[in-house]
């Protein structure tokens, strides 16, 4: 599904990712863990095509095709979804309308017929119910006046409706209470299938109590320093990240 080879990324001239190698096979859920500032969000945003993240070296294949040459909308249409850590507000753009526009674009891209309002409404209602989202909320503008938890749910709602081949979840678990975390985890587990893949970017091991990843990768200072199974996450929970840090002398200066 996703193959990252020697990916280097700079933001405003500072190198953040310093040679990432990562393969996420179809049908798997991988977790990327790491302390604050390790480059987790940079990786997520780079994969989605955010402009200010400059790829200086390396390549990324998505379903066997070059990903980095595509604009963000084309990446999305190819099946890549990013659940934002901080979803922006779109004042005046109704949530329902926004998600329908996204789905319409996707269906058009696939050469399929657009859904009429009633068909869409059915899907939309079912998905909001699954995710435990207040239907009143979904009539509002995209993310406007949403609490942190509501914004996260809204990301999960979009993920459920757009059903992407690869979902990248950037700190989706942060700032959620236990009930919300459980609902969102259920949503992620529900989409698990041999046909898609999920990349969970997270700071805490907490969500991995609900979602069992196939692989855990530890990202520190822009590099994956260790990969392992579910037990690696538990070890991190006990020992923190410091034991995985490279000795200072080995960190090349940027």
């Amino acid at each position: 599904m996703l193959e990252i080879r020697d990916l280097h990324v700079s933001v405003a001239g500072t190198e953040i990712l310093r040679g990432i190698d990562l393969t996420v096979p179809t049908g798997e859920v991988h977790a990327i863990m790491g302390p604050n500032g390790s480059g987790k969000s940079t990786l997520a945003s780079t994969l989605a095509g955010k402009q200010e993240y400059e790829v200086t070296q390396g390549e990324v294949l998505f379903q066997g095709e070059d990903l980095l040459g595509l604009l963000p909308d084309k990446r999305a249409l190819a099946g890549l979804f990013l659940a934002f850590q901080y979803p922006p507000e779109l004042p005046g753009v109704r949530n329902r309308h926004f998600i329908k526009a996204a789905l319409d674009a996707l269906l058009e891209h696939r050469g399929e017929e657009a859904l009429n309002a009633r068909q869409f409404d059915k899907i939309y209602r079912a998905a909001t119910k699954d995710i435990g989202m207040d239907t009143e909320l979904t009539k509002r503008s995209v993310n406007e006046g949403f609490s942190g938890g509501e914004k996260k749910r809204n990301e999960m709602l979009q993920m459920a409706i757009l059903d992407p081949a690869l979902a990248i979840l950037d700190e989706t678990d942060s700032g959620l209470d236990i009930d919300a975390l459980r609902l969102i985890s259920e949503g992620i587990n529900r989409r698990r299938s041999p046909k898609n893949a999920t990349l969970l970017v997270t700071h805490y091991q907490r969500i991995l109590g609900y979602i069992v990843p196939d692989k855990v990768h530890v990202l520190i200072d822009g590099r994956i320093v260790r990969s392992g199974g579910r037990e690696l996450a538990e070890e991190l929970e006990e020992r923190g990240y410091d034991w995985l840090r490279e000795p200072a002398s080995e960190i090349p200066t940027a």
């Binding site: 989605a48 095509g49 955010k50 402009q51 200010e52 604009l71 963000p72 909308d73 990446r75 999305a76 249409l77 979804f81 990013l82 934002f84 979803p87 922006p88 507000e89 779109l90 004042p91 005046g92 753009v93 926004f98 998600i99 526009a101 996204a102 674009a105 996707l106 891209h109 503008s141 979009q158 757009l162």
Partner: protein, 486 residues
């Protein structure tokens, strides 16, 4: 009559982005260029007007001659001086009689031209429930739905017809809200106004349908000076829509209209405008100068006047639909979207004059600037000493698209009664990269993402428009932004 199939797109030296840029080739009855007393008399005679109307026109014309012909200079718009002797002040598509008796007598090309504009002028299109008065250059072409309106007692006709058929109402109200001496352009309009719509809604009547006027400038070098008067008698309600287009011309065309609204006790007038005059090409050549005076008087107690405008066209817009809140507990509203792209300039806003007790006004103005456009909101909220308990809420938001455009806000507040409550909010924002990235990450193209965000910015205003007009407004916004986004 001219040869068939003559509705043609304009020549290739103008870009064809403007969808309404066709010229209709029909024989027109035109006055020579220039303005003098004879022209004023000619216009009045062509319209078969009673003496009082001619006298009023002449008074206005004589006053206009005393004015500085540079016009008002305080607006933030920039254009070369207009040569008022190089403009034609009368052009009518009817060569013989001043007005056709029925649709059958109207030149089919005219009807086709209006069809192209999407105006439901033909019989089969009357089902849409909108009564239309279509003004082509200077004359009113047809007023649909006349009969069912008559049954309700509503008078909806061209203003020239009203001058002949309802002189008492005209004498009483024409110029009562915007006097002929009001401002330079209003004075000019008073002297030479050609046509426009007249509406009278009798006491207690809720007008059974939306009334609509479509204005189109067709002849070259012709100014359009329509004059509209709407009177809502006690306890009545009327919703009135106006749309405007003009063909693409290399030269500038002058449009100086006056609109007067009067609402008596417990009456309500809702006035909606989609202004889509030709904006000029992307280098700023051609386009309509839209210098318009619109004012309503909420004369009676509990009366309400609401202006909603979507201004996307014209090279220059100079327009301040205002409300004089004279009746106690009266309400004035102004909802506006003004979009400028390329080299367009808009200086628009409103004036709310609170005179009566417990009067209430609401102003929501949204300015969108793209390309090298310059958009200014200019407003005055005035609370007179008599206006005990008056309230005003003002919100001015500007949205910038690109980095060569400008947005300006010039709000004046003049409070002379200590019980007044005033609220003013203003914001300036850009379509942010984060918003665009978010929408694009959902598979929405950059261009669509822009439209979506800009539409969202305007939503509060579009909600004030009747449904079909709101759809058209969204479409207009999209067409007007072409080339500026994506």
């Amino acid at each position: 009559m001219a040869t068939p199939n003559v509705i043609s797109r304009t020549t290739s030296d103008l870009d064809s982005d403007y969808k309404y840029g066709f010229v209709t080739d029909i024989d027109a009855d035109q006055a020579p260029k220039g303005l003098n007393e004879d022209i004023v008399r000619l216009i009045s005679a062509k319209k078969d007007e009673p003496e009082f109307m001619l006298e009023w026109r002449l008074k206005a014309f004589r006053h206009w001659q005393t004015l500085d012909h540079e016009g008002p200079q305080w607006a933030k718009v920039d254009f070369p001086a207009i040569d008022y002797q190089d403009i034609r002040y009368y052009s009518s598509p009817f060569t013989d009689k001043p007005k056709p008796e029925s649709l059958d007598e109207v030149d089919p090309e005219l009807i086709e031209a209006f069809g192209k504009l999407g105006i439901p002028i033909e019989e089969q299109k009357r089902m849409t429930g909108v009564a239309v008065d279509a003004i082509f250059d200077s004359s009113s072409v047809a007023t649909t739905y006349k009969k069912s309106l008559e049954e309700a007692g509503v008078i909806f006709c061209s203003v020239s017809e009203a001058v002949r058929t309802h002189p008492d109402l005209i004498k009483k109200y024409l110029g009562s809200i915007v006097p002929y001496s009001d401002n330079f352009y209003a004075t000019l309009n008073s002297a030479v106004f050609s046509d426009g719509s007249f509406v009278y809604v009798p006491p207690g009547v809720r007008c059974p349908m939306e009334l609509m006027t479509y204005f189109r400038i067709n002849s070259e070098d012709t100014g359009q000076f329509e004059r509209t008067l709407i009177i809502a008698d006690k306890g009545s309600y009327v919703s009135y829509l106006e749309g405007c287009t003009a063909p693409m011309r290399k030269t500038h065309q002058l449009h100086a209209a006056v609109v007067e609204l009067v609402a008596l006790d417990d009456a309500e007038i809702k006035y909606s405008t989609l202004q889509n005059w030709y904006p000029g090409d992307k280098d700023g050549n051609g386009g309509v100068y839209n210098f318009v005076t619109k004012r309503g008087k909420a004369l009676g107690k509990n009366s309400k006047i609401s202006w909603t405008q979507v201004e996307t066209g014209s090279a220059i817009t100079w327009k301040y639909p205002s409300v004089i809140l004279q009746g106690d507990n009266s309400t004035g509203e102004f909802y506006s979207v003004a979009l400028v792209n390329n080299h367009q300039q808009a200086d628009t806003g409103t004036k709310m004059t609170h005179i009566g007790k417990n009067t209430k006004s609401t102003i929501v103005a949204k300015g969108i600037s793209a390309g090298q456009g310059e958009s200014t909101y200019r407003g005055l909220v005035q609370i007179m000493p008599t206006a005990e308990g008056a309230t005003n809420f003002t919100q001015c938001d500007s949205l910038l698209v690109g980095d060569k455009c400008g947005a300006h806000t010039v709000p004046y507040i003049d409070v002379r009664n200590p019980t007044a409550r005033m609220e003013h909010e203003a914001s300036t924002s850009k379509v942010s990269d984060d918003q665009l990235f978010y929408a694009m990450q959902r598979g929405i193209s950059e261009e669509e993402a822009h439209y979506m965000i800009i539409n969202g910015f305007c939503r509060g205003i579009f909600q004030e428009l009747p449904f079909e007009f709101a759809m058209e407004a969204q479409q207009l916004l999209r067409v007007s932004l072409e080339g500026a986004v994506g």
